[in-house]
């Protein structure tokens, strides 16, 4: 799942990312961020709660949330 999420984030942002990459620095707005979260949920088949979303700061956090 880690590789799939990294590939998804790279596709959505057009930037190379690592697990440590911070969404604040990837130039996304809220609409793009929520779209990414929804796609990550679809990809993994796992729902992320609203409270969990608020804690997603890095690509690694997103990987953990859908693991």
């Amino acid at each position: 799942m880690r590789e799939k999420i990294i590939a998804l984030v790279e596709e959505e942002t057009g930037k190379q990312v690592t697990m440590e990459s911070d969404f604040d620095s990837l130039g996304m707005d809220s609409l793009e961020f929520v779209d990414l979260i929804l796609k990550a949920q679809q990809l993994s088949g796992k729902a992320i709660t609203d409270a969990e979303v608020a804690k997603i700061n890095t690509v690694g956090d997103l990987v953990s949330a859908v693991a």
Binding site: D50, V53, N57
Partner: protein, 148 residues
């Protein structure tokens, strides 16, 4: 990294003034009216359990907020409370997905408090409807105003 939390009007008000002035300058339609939030009234309503403040903080500094009335709706007084968002704001430099996180967190707070519905709106000239739709909201009303 931002933190999101439910906090008191008193704590919010300590740092809120520069933000709500910025908020008003950016979005307010009535620039001829003085922006002067009634903090005392907010505290009074909060004491009744009917006013909630959700904040976004960066290294402890206030950078965003959601203000909401929390109460059973006057039309549905026997039903569970609803979370009626009065205002929300996030400083421009933190609009990197954090606005969505703030709204998501506010929704989790509303749910944990027992709310069954959230009312959320945006300005026509700052249209967030695509974001709201993606967050699961549906368009329900058109609102009109008129200066008299």
């Amino acid at each position: 990294m931002l933190s999101f939390q439910l906090e008191s009007v008193e704590k919010w008000a300590l740092e809120a003034q520069p933000l709500y002035i910025q908020h008003w300058k950016e979005l307010g339609l009535d620039q001829d009216l003085e922006i002067a939030p009634d903090i005392s009234k907010m505290k009074a309503i909060e004491a009744l359990g009917m006013w909630k403040v959700v904040t976004a903080r960066f290294e402890g500094r206030l950078v965003g907020y959601v203000l909401a009335v929390f109460s059973p709706h006057l039309h549905y007084s026997t039903s569970a409370p609803m979370f009626i968002v009065d205002a929300y704001y996030i400083m421009p430099e933190f609009r990197t997905g954090n606005g969505a996180k703030l709204l998501k967190f506010a929704e989790s707070v509303a749910r944990s408090l027992g709310a069954i519905k959230i009312y959320l709106s945006c300005k026509v000239h700052e249209d967030h409807s695509a974001l709201f739709t993606l967050l699961g909201y549906r368009l329900s009303d058109y609102a009109f105003i008129k200066r008299i």
